[in-house]
Amino acid sequence: MAGAGKIGVFDDSIESGEARISNGKAPLSKPRASQLASDGAVPLIFELSSHGRRGSDLAAPRGAVERAVETLGADLCRADLEAFPELSEPQVMRHFLRLSQQNFAVALQFYPLGSCTMKYNPVVNDELAGLPGFAQLHPHTPDRLAQGALGLMWDLESMLAEISGMDAISLHPAAGAQGEFAGLLIARAFHRKRGENRHKILIPDTAHGTNPASCTLAGFEVATIKSSKRGFIEASEIEHAVGPDVAALMVTNPNTLGIFEPEIQKIASILHAKGALLYLDGANFNALMGVAKPGHMGADIVQMNLHKTFSTPHGGGGPGAGPIAVKRDLEPFLPSPRILKHGDKFHFDYDRPDSIGKLRSFYANFGMLVRAYAYILALGGNGLAEASRLAILNANYTRKRLEDHFPAASAEPMMHECVLTHDLEKRAGVSTLEIAKRLLDFGIHPPTIYFPLVVPGALMIEPTESESKETIDDFVEAMERIYNEALGDPQLVKRAPNSLRLSRVDEAEAARRPILRWLAVAK
């Protein structure tokens, strides 16, 4: 129940055993784990546990546990699942439903988290992924009996190839970062195959953290390329930086400033001329559909984040899917297996001698693929292009409306997101973090902050095409109001959030004295 405030609530200070005074009202006499607290505080499942409760009834014959222990022998067996939760089903449901209401989410709130493409997730896609023919399909099912799933994936690969302008796709990677890793291993294998030992990857200073981290994992050294003052990479810089030790340039386009790399084609030519590859991080694909294809830009390798552009829900942090797309000459190195079509039949092909191998079990995060496929079918070619057009419109409108208070970090045109900055730190000692927290009071999830690193106090705003003009107008008004508050009443901003169940969470304390699991308190 939203809107529940702090008056008359049950106290939630179970763990400390100390009664806490909430808003001047007397706390309960004996603090305990309550599933009622009107302010939304939720005890841990362990605190709700009581010995002998159960949330499941099983058809297991009586005495099965004792017999099992006898079968295996006591020295293989544990005595108990000590301190494991014991709740009834109604309590479990209430627990998680109450917890759910403690989240902001794009289905309910504006969530312009830059670089994350928090667009609308059609619920029908979840339903379709849950069809028994998919949900109950075992990964070891013979290909013959999984033609629908194989066909769907084959079709999705073709669509992604068309969208990206690339030649071959593997749906294998579990997320964008795993796609990057796969892509970099492919680059490595490619050069190796040609007898070259290139150990360096060029990465612009605006890159997402996963890019350098993936390079390390793939055994490369990272050489950072400084973006120009205008916010993009200059071909001259690359010309200069590419040597025979450079395996690839890894670039996000549009980059994390929201800027389309204007010299990308020239850069690709330079790289190719020097035997290096162009890796394009496709996490920002939401700007590109119907606008420009990475394949045409000269990209050799692209990973695509289906949980961004292709609308699979973000799940509080995942799961996603990060298909990898390559040009023809890199195809042999794709993860194994690949899906092949013979006549109208599909099968997995494991005969891939040059493949980099596998990064995970089985083929792919199939459940997410069904959703992305449904999304592409629903929008079609025209709809995908329209999505990018409207995403670009929304970002540019936001940028324009906010320019007086929060100017863009670069004067360049921006695409589907805009990176803004501000002078409030200087003028009022109010930080970007505090602005972000204050946005929560307006019911808005903050943008990505302090990223890209090259922009001081960055606010990276990606409204996506799913949001209405009205919502953006509201957001603009909130931002303007915060700007004025920061000047007039900075404490209001600095102590934000003021209206959620929790006040500012002490992250420093969490790191200083890590408590990473619940532990039973001696009673």
């Binding site: 179970i14 002998g52 297991a60 293989l76 108990d80 939760p85 709740l87 449901m93 209401q101 794009v106 979840d126 992924a129 069809l131 023919g133 998919f134 013979p142 033609q147 629908g148 066909g151 997320a175 970062a177 795993q178 953290g209 350098p212 390390t216 084609q265 700007a287 606008v291 799940g315 509080g316 942090g317 799961p319 990064l359 079990s361 995060n365 199939f366 459940g367 449904a374 592409i376 629903a378 929008l379 079609g380 995908l384 329209e386 409207l390 670009i392 409306r401 360049e412 045109p413 799913s466 949001e467 209405s468 003009k469 929790l502 006040s503 969470v505 992250e507 790191a511 890590p514 990473l516």
Partner: protein
Amino acid sequence: MRFFPHTNDDISSMLETIGVDSIEVLSAHVPADLRATARLKLAPGRSEAEVAAMISSLAQRNLGADGFTSFLGGGYYRHYVPAAVRAIASRAEFATSYTPYQAEASQGSLQAIFEFQTLICQLTGLDVANASMYDGASAAAEAVLMARRMNSKRKLVAVSRGLWPDYRIAIRTYLSALKGVEVVELPFDPATGSTDLGEVRRIADKNLLCVAAGYPNAFGVIEPLSQIAAVTREAGAALISATAEPLALALLKAPAELGVDVAVGEGQSFGLQLQYGGPGVGFMAARSAYLRQMPGRLVGQTRDRDGARAFCLTLAAREQHIRREKATSNICTNHSLCALAVCAYLALMGRQGLRELAAHNLELAHATALALGSRGLRRRFSGAFFNEFAVAVKDPRSALAAAEKNRILAGIDLGRDYPELCGSLLLSVTELNNDREITALCDSIAEAA
């Protein structure tokens, strides 16, 4: 289009504010040749009803668990998923949020993950667990990388051949780019099916970084981890256990009790549908010494300014968005929602229920082994097993084909991945199988054999 809220008037007025004539102007700086060739040659958009019909017909061209009786396991296990788990995991508040960077607005996800971490610690007996990995295989690979960060002078990674093929390949792939690390495979004892202890002893020296073994392993055999641990401890190497069927942990000794340093595994058994292999969820738990080398996210408990309990992401200094090329891992998006489903599943099963379910699985699997035995079909290995085991048959292909005729997927031909095990089928028996099905299975295979 139903997903776009923009009216023509909205677009005009927004363009007017921006000061341009058309949306195209906003991307006019993109090189003209790129724009000219960017048209997407895909079919036009479709109504929801059309999309649903198309995809439903594809779903019907597969074989769900419905149509057939199945004894497939091999890393992914068939279990009943209570409706409450689906109802919880499909809450829009959980499903459509992202990584909980803003703690004050993400307590739901954060607390659930904190509970998940605790449950994984309880199951494994270890001190600290992370917020999730992609899956069991990548978690195993990351565990080896973590072991290496802890002990970077050692070069030898020993992987039991009794680990699932995908796990072994993933480990090799993850390590393929790292200089100076050698991966060797530890053979299994052809009689018991567990890792050859002699071989472990043979390679155990100062160069040994870690040993990775399944628990239970790819043949369903419960590895004698404590014996391996005795060797690794002595050698100063790490022992990594990997569990693809974590339900076994409800009955078996916790990995930590046996001397395991890092326990990883696949959480799919705990409330996630099969989904043709993904998304599942990887888990990773370790002794506290590993804390600062853990990959992935960690949720910690703290307080808000007013002293109320709160949860937040913590120790981010390990992670890619802070440490970049020096991060412990490149993982960013993980499998949070799956971890949340696991948490809900385990909360429902509970302390007693989970053990009963495990015992029921064991009992059914053992009954199946007995029934096959009484038809002259012997277990391939003598090692103790939980709900999965290998059976020796003369001609696995014809056994599978015979079963399939009776609408039974009888198992996996082990010879495909283990040439030395040709003539063996791997069977997994769970609570979704009943006595009637078991009899039908035995009859089908026995007939063909």
